[in-house]
């Protein structure tokens, strides 16, 4: 039974950091074949109430809703190793 991840990526319009975070995240997801990801990208300018509910300050912010506990990773996710660590997805070959 593969582990299921529910991720939300908060961005504002199309900022450089947001674009980069999305690219980094997609690349990372494509490499994790063992896991099922559900990724939702939310533009704060369009859905400000969602940002309010999730208490978003920094952009980009990635929220890991599942599996628990809920975590937030802010920034452009440039350091892949640390993102994996943050999401509890330590690569099996390491």
């Amino acid at each position: 039974m593969p582990q299921k991840y529910i991720l939300k990526l908060y961005v504002v319009g199309s900022s450089v950091a947001s674009e980069r975070a999305l690219i980094n995240l997609k690349e990372l997801i494509s490499q994790e074949s063992e896991t099922v990801f559900e990724l939702e990208m939310i533009d704060v300018t369009k859905y400000p109430q969602l940002a309010e509910d999730d208490k978003i300050l920094a952009i980009p912010t990635l929220i890991m809703k599942l599996p628990p506990p809920v975590r937030k990773i802010i920034g452009d996710l440039s350091d892949k190793e640390k993102v994996l660590l943050g999401l509890n997805l330590i690569p099996q070959n390491k």
Partner: protein
Amino acid sequence: MTAKMKGIAAKAKSTDKSPVVRKGVQKILTGIRGFDEVLEGGLPKGRFFLVTGSTGTGKTVFTSEFLYRGITDYNENGVFVTFEENPGDIIKNVKGFGWNFDMLIRKKRLVFVDASPDKVITTELGKYDFSGLVERIKFAVNQVKAQRVAIDALGMLFSKFTNKDAVREVIYNICDELKRLGVTTVITAEKAGDRMNNLSRQEVEEYVVDGVAELSLNPGQQQFVRKMFVKKLRGVGYRSGIVEFDITSNGLEVFPKIEVNRLVSKTEFKKREKFGIKGIDKALEGGIPQGHMLLISGNTGTGKTLFGMHFIVQGIKKGQRAVYIALEEPVEQIKKTAREFGFDFTKYEKEGKLIFVCPSLIDISNDKLLYQIVNAANKIGAKRVVVDSISSLQSATMPEESVRQFLYQTSSFFKTNGITCLLNYLSGSNFGAARGQLLASLDTNMIRLTSLVDGLIALLYVERGQRVKRILNILKMRGCWHSNDIFQYTINNEGINLGERYEE
């Protein structure tokens, strides 16, 4: 970043120099009691005002009241951006002041942007900015069509995030956006030494805000005294200096310094204010000249309070409203005493003809007391004031010099408004007046105060034939003739009766 700062600085400068803008700055009333007077009409509309101070100085109460009064008194909706306390706690805390934030939120008059500490584990990985926060604030402002924004404890961002440049930037961005939206903003920041965390106070004060108030708690003799120092208000007038304030059961109360003009005097020697006690009015050739300040001194039980009561009742009968400053007895007790002599103070109070001012005497300051008196007098347009008693200020915690200063300020205020005032003074005069030297026992402390007042009536006891007799003399009454006789007087259930000249 640097370019941005310069841009804001340049903008501010040009605003300052333009006389048109200076004259045309529109102000909004905060609704915080006394504060708008310090600001000479309120905060400049559409600008930023910084409230600093250490923990517990009242910053959050200030911002909460700024929003609350805006909504309830001026129909200006508000946004509360909180970085420290969560909205639930704030809502709960302000209930104590009678402010129902829940209801205002339901009616879409108020909305919170919750930026309080997050329980979710947060990791920083790579570059970010705070556009999420800016978008949320913009959304909130549009949502309730806010005209006021409060940002509480902005500096908390510094302790939560490592990217200090991003934090600096967002502060400028928020200010830019809110200025564009035309809302008036109050920001609070903890005062920690000379820096607000990583943002120097100077930076914030120079570039971001147009005005600064610093709140502080100072040790008094019995309790802490709250003070407020409005340091600047770019482009508009304000009263500088340190003023006191209280946090009362219904919000802040600021006590601005009362400006007194010694050049104006409305003393009218032709208009006389009567006591309604026949003999005295006659001995004064018709009464006290309007605008005079009269000291009535006497030992305990000589009837000073009763003289004050007569004076108030006579005024009200002639259509003059009055303020009674009760520094000695509780108001209820004064009313009961008055009733014994047939004076219905409760009725006068209900009819708006009489106001009692009864401040706590612990750590009372002249600014605060004077403000309360002026406020009460202006409220009903009083023409008569009784202070019962001035000596209780001395015996409380007010230093003697402050009492003199207080007298000086009050007399100036009364004179510019044509208000006639009685000051009761508990003297230490003794009973041992020898035959032919009845006034020899007068209290020298009291005499020292008399240079500040226009008149003095001394009440004395003399012991004669195993009885205590009460005698009275008008020692001084500036600018008018008065009897020099020593009168005997008695007190019965109708009040004071002045008898004939005292004969040994």
